[in-house]
Structures are given as structure tokens and as C-alpha cells.
Symmetry: C2
Subunit: 271 residues, 2 copies
Amino acid sequence: MTDRLAIIAGTGDLPHRIAASNPGALFVTIKGVEVAAPDGHELVEASYEKLGALFKSMRGAGVARVVFAGKVDRPKLNPLRMDRVTLGLFPRVKAVLGKGDDALLRLVAEVFEEQGFQVVAATDVAQGLSLDATVIGRTPSDQDRRDADRAWSILNTLVPEDLAQGAVVAGGQCLGIETIQGTDALLRFVSESPEHLKLGARGVFVKRSKPGQDQRMDIPTIGPATVEAVAKAGLGGIVIPAGDVIVMEQDEVVRLIEEHDLFLDVRGATP
Amino acid sequence: MTDRLAIIAGTGDLPHRIAASNPGALFVTIKGVEVAAPDGHELVEASYEKLGALFKSMRGAGVARVVFAGKVDRPKLNPLRMDRVTLGLFPRVKAVLGKGDDALLRLVAEVFEEQGFQVVAATDVAQGLSLDATVIGRTPSDQDRRDADRAWSILNTLVPEDLAQGAVVAGGQCLGIETIQGTDALLRFVSESPEHLKLGARGVFVKRSKPGQDQRMDIPTIGPATVEAVAKAGLGGIVIPAGDVIVMEQDEVVRLIEEHDLFLDVRGATP
């Protein structure tokens, strides 16, 4: 029996990272999602409205496992273009559309599993996406550590609300909690805050997955753009848990951390 | 014995509202804080560096009670200009400067009490600053109520962290949690969010004091500018607890709520 992998590709570098680790994988692009096809991979172009056709091609290509990788915006769906399979799923899709991205992603995973495909996490099919415990760049100061601890504590407090992959704390004061708009919006908000609110500290950005979050469908990810945004916000460093966050383009991340005199603290045990 | 009131005036209309209710009050302006003197009140101009002089004038004027009203930015203090009393307090001020505005405000209240003045809340010396339970404007929809309940729940969750006077929820999704930057910054952030994140709902802004917050020094306040900002953010209404939030220029607030087809839900009992 085959265990061939299909990579359902969103934007960003992650689909290509996974393709590089899985030379035999089928590479699936979605109509309207801008992603370049990697060399040497069998390709399928899918559309949200024709899932029946996608499942058929994947079965024909001997696919047993599926990984979702990269970013995808919420699609505008046109029921008139749907094939029979998609139409059959439409009521379930409609029922979760008002419930947030997590619910929609859970449904997508469920549907692929029902069709006999095993949904796996990006970290299961490519090595070295996340980092083991380490500190990159400058050594965090005591103030940095206290600020990081406070941000962790705020994130832990919000767990029952299923809220917040990130928080920024400077000088003990919370300057931002990540909401549905995501990390970029949070760091832009922080960058627009008056400097005096930091009480002389540089400030720390903590990023982690929400406990209970489906790591197969949505793994928090940082990369060079995150480091640039943290530097632009005037912060002093980033803290993530070991093994929990995908770090893209790691050489470039390390270079930028050092260039901006920041730290990346990958914590082994987190409170 | 006299119970004369002194109004320590920050910016905004609140100091004048209190002066109007207290014709005999001493009106204290602070150097560098822009506030017009009201007609018919004895005036004192104070400076942060000369607190000894301020305490002396207040005693000389027969002041027994003090109310802090209006907004004041963190001052830049110049130790060279300080009088003996301020210099004596300087180590205590320095010790709390890194601890956030709440700690600084608590110290200010403490110092005035030590000097024999009773610090009172704005709501204790002027009637009608806050509102009793009522709904102004349109009737909140079921979705509005659910969104408001979620925002309350998020704020309650954050109580142990001494965080957040406000939160915005739309279609069940949290679009923002108020941090140290305040309400204006939160609503600006929300106004910049993509509309589709609201999942078809209008969204609700909930504002209340943090439990345990010193109401004498910092009462949450909304006014016409808040209503305009809520409308600009595309939200559908505002929820506050009865008696807890100062509502400035109430006629204008009511007019704007109706003009923008919003609601102001003043809740009597809150979860």
C-alpha cells in the first residue's frame, strides 16, 4: 500500500520546504491562491468548488496522506460552480462559516479524513521546521525575562477563551494581545504606540500555539518578516516554545536577529 | 470645620462638570496641562515640582477634600526645580515609575491622604456622571448580545492579570483587547481590520473598570469621541455597566448614538 503525500499549497515558503523533503509528493495548488509550482513534482490544480474532482485525482495518484501548508484566505464560494461532492458538503460548510477560522479548518480536516485521507502536520513530514531549546542573538536581560514571563502568563490566562497566539509586554506593561487579525497587525499596532509606555524596557513578543489548537491545520509560524516587524516595533526579542512554532528561512532569521541586536529565546520548558 | 473641595484639573470637560456642581471649590491647574479656568472659582496654579507650595495653598484655602478629574500625561520631572516636599517624595515616585500608571496613581492618592486631604471620586462630588441601566438607540440584536457576553467573558478572564478596560467582539470573534494604549488606540486598530473578520456581524465594544481599580483616581470615561470612534470602526454598539463608567456630554452622546444607528446598552447586572 502506498503512503503517498499530497501537499495542499497555500502561499509562502512552507509548501516548498515540505516538497523538498518529500520528492514523491503530489503538489496541489488551489485556483486563486498564488503559489509557484516546485520543480520535479506531479501537479494538480484544484478548486474549492470541485472537491469531488480533487479527491478523485488524489486517489488516482495513490495519495494516502495530506498536509495543508502555507496561508490561504477565506474563499468566496460560488454554489453554481460546485460539483456534486462540494454541493453535498455545502450545508456543513455554511454552518461553520460564522464560527471562526478554527471551526472551518476543523471541518476541512474532517472532510478529508472522511474521504479516507490521513491529515498530517507539516512538522510530521519535514524535519527542522521548528527549533529545539536555544537562545539566538543577544542574551535576554532580567527585564526581558520578566516581560516574557508576564506575556506567557497573559496567554495562559486566555486559554479558556481559546484566544491569543501572541502577546507583547514591555516594562511589565502589556502593549498588545494577538486577536484574529494576526501577528503582523499586532506588531504594527505596537510599533505605533508611544515609546514612553514601555517604561524604559525594550519589550518582548511571545508567540506560541493555543493549547488544543489543531497542529495539523494551523501551526504558528515566524520568519524573517516577523523579525523585521519586531525590530520595527522597537522590541528587544522574541520568545517561542521549543518544537511548537515553525521558523521559516532559519539562516535569514538568525542573521536578522543578530543584525537588529535582538534575541530569539526558544524555551524548552514553559510555565 | 470646612469640607471645601479642591479640583485637580486635567484636560477634558470633567473638571468643569465637577466645578459646576461645586461652586465653592478651589480649581487647581497644573503647569503644562492645558485646561481653561472656569468662571467664578478661586484658582491655584500648581506644578509637579512644587507640591509643598500646593499643599500650603490648599490648606490656606480651607481645602479638606480633593478630587482628581480629567486626563493628565505622565510628567517629565526636573529634580533641580523641586521644593523640599517634592524632593522628599521623589524616591517613592521613582520607585513606582517603572510599575505602570495604576501604581503611580495609587501613590499620588496616598501622598494627598498623608497630607491630610481626603481623596474622593468624581462620581461622589457630581451627580449624573454615570448612567443607570437603560438602552439608548436601537435595540441590540441577539448577535449583539452574544458578542457583548463574549467580550465580558474575555474581560473577566483577564481580571487576575489586572488587564483590559475594554474589548471588541464581532460575530463571536475577538477583534481587540484594550491594553495600556487605551480606548482610542483599540478602536483605531479595530477600524483598520478587514471587514470579513466580523463574519457578517456589526460588533460590540464593551467598556468597564477593572475590578479593584481605584475609582477615585481613574474612572473609565466615554463621550462623543468614543461614539464617533465606535461608528468609524463599523461597530454596532457600546455596552457599559450601570454606575461604573462616566459618560461625558450625555445629550451629544445620545444624539450620536441615534445618528449612527448604534446602541448604548447600560447593563444593570453584568456577568
